[in-house]
């Protein structure tokens, strides 16, 4: 799950990236509003974390611009400004949540999950498909009532497949999802992870669509 992180403080951004990666997200960092607008235009993100005090002062306009152009990605504002006035402006402009620094990472992660859940019209963090039971909160995975241990990347990939069942995900998409823009992906890295997933689950669960990508078969086992 890719997250667009817009934060101009280098140290803070570094810490958040480390933590978000560890929690199974793929954050991409932008330090200005203009960069963020460009990034959102060119790639898909599940969510945006936005600092209001950006160097180009573009944050609130960015929210409005996104909403006007029909970008429905949840926007979580994370800022040091705690005045009610700013909160109201941000939420009324189209932000989905507002958190004031300093924040506890666990709370931030929980709120990210809540926003994604709402976006994907789910009521809980448990995805059930094709005999797989994946808990997005504690990363617990079961296949046909048997516990399965997943690596971080495997979890990230499986989560994407389960969020978009029966849809073909291209290799490039999957690479971006699990490695980000500047990830040092080897040519067959994705294949290796898919292979491992198939080994842990069942080979037929993830179908290869030749020349296009991969797809999760939701009716597996039926």
């Amino acid at each position: 799950m890719r997250i667009l992180l817009v934060e101009d403080d280098e140290l803070l951004a570094k810490g958040m990236i480390t933590r978000l990666k560890r929690l199974g997200y793929q954050p991409e960092l932008c330090t200005t509003g203009k960069q963020a607008a460009l990034a959102a235009q060119n790639s898909n993100f599940a969510l945006m974390i936005l600092d209001l005090g950006l160097p180009d002062g573009f944050a609130l306009d960015l929210i409005r611009q996104f909403r006007q152009s029909g970008v429905s990605m949840p926007i979580l504002v994370l800022t040091a400004q705690d005045q009610l006035q700013t909160k109201l402006i941000a939420l009324n402009s189209g932000a989905d949540d507002y958190l004031v620094k300093p924040i506890d990472v666990m709370e931030l992660e929980a709120r990210i999950r809540v926003l994604c859940r709402r976006q994907q019209q789910r009521t809980d963090d448990s995805l059930q498909l094709a005999g797989i039971n994946l808990n997005l909160n504690n990363h617990h995975c079961q296949f046909q009532q048997q516990d399965v241990t997943l690596t971080r990347r495997e979890f990230m990939l499986l989560k994407e497949f389960m969020l978009k069942p029966d849809r073909i995900l291209s290799r490039q998409q999957l690479e971006e999802l699990s490695y980000g823009w500047d990830g040092d992906t080897e040519s067959n890295a994705i294949e290796v992870h898919i292979h491992n997933l198939r080994k842990k689950l069942a080979p037929e669960v993830i179908k290869t669509v030749r020349g296009v990508g991969y797809m999760l078969v939701s009716h597996y086992g039926h």
Binding site: G15, T18, G57, A80, D82
Partner: protein, 471 residues
């Protein structure tokens, strides 16, 4: 009613004035009446004397063996005012007759006298008015001489009767006003109370003010109170402004503290679960940097708080050149090596001010100059003595400095382009404050090298004072 109050003083003053006016009035009335009475009675004495002399010369008295004729007078010697005018009009005359006496002498012999003139000494044989004392009572006499008959007529009247009547007339004028004084005082008191009501109203409104509610007072007040109202309103406005400033300062300060705090918290949490040595290194570096940033910010905030409560500073002569060298030496080595320093110093510059505060000024400005310069940039420091007992310090850098010169020195102001540069935007506000405390001037100007000129003008130490504060 308090003694030290406008009401009390007004009431006291008006009553005293009234009493004074009454006394003056009574005194003048008494004197006037006495004067008029004297004229009337003197005329009466003369007329009586002439009447008696006329009667006596036309009808000579049959002398009764040399005994004079005695005319009786009513025996009322009481001088009081206990009887009514009707009662005083007795059958045999008027009690005041006792106060008028006469004697008539012919050929040196007493031929007729009133009863109350029996004890009189023989009057002077000299025509005109005289004053004599008989039994401790002062009388005014009039002597009249008819040469054809060799007849002397003396008429006399007690003086106290005149004084008594003068007093009566004066009292008659003063009494009604005297009786009116108490109700009048009460009325005046009520009027004063009414007049002072707007003042009470204003006082209540001012007393009702709380820091949360400092709105202007808009009362329909008399012209005298309007300046007070507007003075209070302008004070309220200043307090409001000050509170707003404080609020903004606290908001800004907490905002500035939140980011380093987030860094500490986030990286500390990361550290507790880190497995990779790289992650540990990263977290430790971030925590160290974050705490540095925070302690810098806290130090700046503390110096602002200290400056805010500083009312006076110790003025000492401070040689500028050593101070500049010290301030440069205190810069972080990385910053000191980042740019080329070009110093043009006038060693005779002797500032008049507080050594430590001035050093903080120089350190902050030099720090900024280097921080906002490109690597290997140029920072020029020029000092010179101005002719008007002022010392000018010019610190100028080059590069690509973006700044709104009108907002430089505002607390927490940082140009958006420089948000990445370390700092909270407090340094120049401290500089501004200290220079203001020294009655100096601070101005900023963009220069043609793309940098900023910071011009500080500070007072020079008075001449003849040669004891330097630092060696």
């Amino acid at each position: 009613m308090a003694i030290n109050s406008i009401k009390f003083y007004l009431l006291l003053g008006i009553n005293l004035l009234m009493l004074g006016a009454l006394s003056l009035n009574a005194y003048i009335a008494y004197n006037d009446a006495l004067h008029e009475l004297n004229e009337i009675y003197d005329a009466e004495l003369a007329r009586s004397a002439k009447l008696i002399s006329l009667l006596l010369s036309s009808n000579p008295l049959p002398l009764n063996e040399g005994q004079p004729v005695v005319v009786a007078v009513p025996h009322v010697t009481d001088m009081g005012e206990t009887m009514t005018a009707q009662q005083e009009r007795l059958l045999d005359g008027h009690k005041y007759e006792g106060k008028i006496a006469f004697q008539a002498q012919q050929h040196g012999q007493l031929i007729m006298l009133s009863e109350n003139a029996l004890q009189f000494p023989t009057p002077q044989h000299e025509a005109g008015y005289h004053e004599i004392t008989e039994h401790g009572t002062l009388w005014v006499t009039f002597s009249f001489f008819v040469p054809e008959q060799d007849l002397w007529v003396f008429t006399a009247q007690r003086v106290d009767i005149r004084e008594e009547m003068g007093e009566h007339i004066a009292q008659a004028q003063v009494r009604p006003i005297l009786f009116m004084m108490l109700p009048l005082s009460l009325l005046i008191y009520l009027v004063i109370k009414q007049v002072l009501r707007p003042l009470n109203l204003l006082q209540q409104h001012v007393a009702d003010k709380t820091p949360e509610q400092l709105h202007e007072i808009q009362l329909a007040l008399p012209a005298e109170l309007q300046p007070i109202q507007s003075a209070i309103n302008s004070l309220l406005q200043r307090i409001r402004h000050y509170l707003q400033q404080e609020k903004r300062f606290i908001a800004d300060a907490s905002h500035e503290l939140r980011t380093p705090l987030s860094i500490l918290q986030l990286h500390a949490q990361n550290l507790s679960t880190a497995k990779d040595p790289n992650e540990v290194t990263e977290a430790i570096f971030a925590i160290t940097e974050g705490s540095k940033r925070m302690s810098h910010l806290v130090n700046q905030l503390l110096s602002i708080a200290r400056l805010d409560h500083l009312e006076t500073i110790n003025f000492n002569p401070v040689p500028l050149t050593p101070l500049l060298h010290q301030s440069l030496a205190q810069l972080p080595p990385l910053l000191l090596d980042k740019v080329h320093w070009q110093l043009q110093l006038d060693d005779s510059c002797l500032l008049h001010g507080d050594n430590a505060l001035l050093q903080s000024v120089l350190r902050n400005v030099l720090d900024n100059a280097a921080k906002y310069s490109p690597t290997d940039g140029n920072v020029q420091v020029t000092t010179r003595v101005e002719h008007n007992q002022q010392i000018c310090i010019l610190i100028s850098n080059n590069g690509n400095v973006a700044a709104d010169t009108s907002r430089l020195g505002d607390r927490f102001y940082r140009h958006q382009q420089h948000q990445q540069v370390e700092g909270a935007g407090l340094g120049l506000s401290i500089v501004k404050h200290i220079i203001a405390l020294h009655q100096g001037q601070l101005s900023f100007m963009r220069n043609d090298r793309g940098g900023l000129d910071v011009i500080m003008t500070l007072p020079a130490a008075p001449r003849g004072n040669v004891t330097p504060a630092i060696q």
